[in-house]
């Protein structure tokens, strides 16, 4: 099993969700996050005061999947989150040791 974590542009969230659903991903977790990468921040001006905003808002999408789905899932996210401009984000893949469904106690593949 794998845990796929993707940092994407906020307005791409719906497309990513649809793409993942289409390949059979059963659930995702979404968090609003801030961070910086190669994309530069911007400046904001309030009356006389100027502030550089380094941390830009992004969305973090996490999906736990079966290992055999990994390539498909990566492709789905890559395609749906791509704008071709700087700041499209990154995908991180982790090995997932164990999964438990709290309601039934099912584990691993059955719990995904």
């Amino acid at each position: 099993m794998k845990l796929v974590t993707a940092i994407i542009k906020p307005f791409k969230l719906d497309e990513v969700r649809e793409a993942l659903s289409a390949i059979g991903v059963q659930g995702i977790t979404v968090t609003e996050v801030k961070g910086f990468g190669r994309q530069k921040g911007h400046t904001e001006l309030y009356r006389g005061a100027e502030y550089v905003v380094d941390f830009l808002p992004k969305v973090k999408v996490e999906a736990a999947i079966k290992s055999e789905m990994l390539e498909q899932a990566i492709e789905a996210i890559e395609k749906s989150a791509n704008t071709g401009k700087i700041g499209d984000g990154k995908i991180f893949v982790f090995d997932l040791e164990k999964v438990i469904r709290i309601r039934t106690g099912e584990t691993d593949a059955a719990a995904l």
Partner: protein, 498 residues
């Protein structure tokens, strides 16, 4: 309870006026209609009773009650929201809270001694104590109300209406200062400072600028000098301040700047980002200020007449001009027009047109509004950097600078040659100074002197008051409390729950 009393008073006054009209008999109210009529003066006035005492016009009374409520709206919620949106979210409630409580505090002080100190006969700096606890404004045995003067002979208002209208001015002026010391002042220190500053700066400046005996006492050419001599100092000089350029805006702006110097900068000022946490609130506040300002400026005519209409359109137009000139300035000099700029421009225009409202014509409104947007934009950027104080919400840059600009330009555009209504030759003659006799330079000099007196008076009183509070209570919260935010550290609650 107070509202109930005020409501009853109004109903009674209208009922009484109605009865008097219906019976077509002169009301037994004291002859002296002016606000400063002393109870002791009543018997003497009755002796010379030949003509009936003037009865308030219902339209005037209705307009003044409406205006009073509009000015209340300018503080709570408008100013509170305008300021509240500009602070960081951890201090949002503290800002709302300070405005709300200071407004209430000054209203109470006003009804105890403030009104008496500002608007009764005394010397040219302070009034007297004839109206402590508003005594003498309502005779409950006879059901009679004392009357306050307006700007027309034989036209009066129930004095309590005037008391309420002026109370809202005193209260909002004190609230304006709070923006300069936002996000770090101790709540108790704020209240203590306001008591001192209100007593020793607001009340005397209001007396100096606005107190006079009213038009009805100018019964002959002989008494003109004597009656002028009883008015406030700046009124005697001939300073024009329709709705409070000196009394409200310069007065509070200086007190704010002095406060920003004495309390010191916020922790992290200039290093950490301190952007406004909710400009939507700020926009709503500015828009409500604009609406409420019609009560402030047009209400300052004290009557529902043409001058009120002039003040109304000037307030409307100058503000729109200032919004456009501020954002145009921003677009040209800073790159982008901003919502905060539009809201600030509106307030700058409103401030600058305040002393001018009923004192200038339409050309004055165009020029004063447009100039205010640009000059105050400089006030909050270039000038602010030069001053080096952390005037957090730019009370000085907008209110003092806009107030000074407005006060000076009032002396220019009051001239009939520039479309202004001019001012009376004297209050016995009653006619306005014609264009050929009007000296703009002379009036500008008078306005400048009035600005100077207010600047120095308020600055000195503010400095002493802050120091006294600092030695006793301490002006500033601890570093830990400041970092935590005043909402939780001072008030034990939070504006936003996540």
């Amino acid at each position: 309870m107070k509202k109930l009393c005020a409501f009853l008073a109004v109903v009674l006054s209208l009922a009484f006026a109605g009865v008097t009209l219906a019976q077509d008999k002169p009301a037994a109210t004291p002859e002296k209609a002016a606000a400063e009529a002393k109870p002791a003066a009543a018997p003497e006035a009755k002796k010379e009773e030949a003509k009936p005492a003037p009865t308030p016009n219902k339209g005037d009374v209705a307009w003044m009650l409406t205006s009073t409520a509009l000015v209340l709206m300018m503080s709570v919620p408008a100013l509170a929201l305008f300021y509240g949106g500009m602070v960081r979210s951890k201090n949002a409630l503290s800002m709302l809270m300070q405005v709300f409580v200071v407004f209430s505090l000054v209203t109470v002080l006003w009804c105890i001694y403030g009104y008496s100190l500002a608007f009764t006969e005394g010397n040219s700096f302070f009034g007297g104590f004839d109206r402590l606890f508003l005594k003498g404004t309502f005779d409950s045995d006879k059901g009679e109300f004392s009357m306050a003067a307006t700007f027309s002979k034989g036209v009066v208002l129930p004095e309590l209406v005037y008391v309420a209208f002026q109370a809202t001015f005193a209260a909002i002026t004190c609230c304006l200062i709070l923006g300069a010391i936002a996000e770090r002042a101790k709540f108790s220190a704020v209240l203590a400072f306001i008591v001192l500053w209100f007593t020793f700066s607001y009340a005397p400046i209001a007396h100096m600028v606005w107190f006079w005996m009213g038009p009805d006492v100018y019964t002959s050419a002989k008494v003109v000098d004597e009656m002028n001599g009883k008015a406030g100092l700046l009124w005697q000089w001939g300073a024009l301040d329709f709705a409070g350029g000196t009394v409200v805006h310069i007065n509070s702006g200086i007190a704010g700047l002095v406060g920003a110097y004495l309390i010191g900068r916020r922790i992290g000022y200039g290093k950490e980002a301190m952007p406004p946490h909710n400009l939507t609130l700020t926009m709503i506040g500015a828009a409500l200020l604009w609406t409420g300002w019609f009560g402030f400026n047009a209400g300052s005519a004290l009557e529902a007449n043409g001058i009120a209409g002039l003040a109304f359109i000037n307030t409307y137009l100058a503000t729109a001009c200032a919004v456009l000139s501020w954002i145009a300035g921003e677009a040209i000099f800073k790159g982008k027009p901003s919502m905060l700029g539009a809201a600030s421009g509106a307030v700058a225009g409103l401030v600058a047109i305040t002393p001018a409202a009923g004192n200038v014509g339409i050309p004055g409104a165009f020029v004063i509004g447009t100039a205010a947007g640009l000059v105050c934009l400089w006030g909050v950027s270039g000038l602010k950097k030069m001053l080096g104080a952390d005037d957090s919400l730019d009370v000085f840059g907008v209110h003092a600078i806009g107030g000074i600009l407005g006060a000076l330009l009032t002396g220019v555009f009051n001239s009939p040659a520039l479309g202004g209504p001019s001012f009376p030759v004297d209050w016995f003659v009653g006619t306005a100074v014609p264009a050929k006799d009007y000296s703009i330079a002379a009036q500008l000099w008078i306005q400048a002197k009035a600005v100077g007196v207010t600047f120095v008076w308020s600055g000195v009183v503010a400095a002493i008051s802050y120091k006294l509070v600092d030695w006793t209570i301490g002006l500033r919260v601890s570093e830990e409390d400041e970092r935590e935010g005043l909402d939780t550290s001072a008030h034990g609650e939070a504006a936003y729950r996540m």
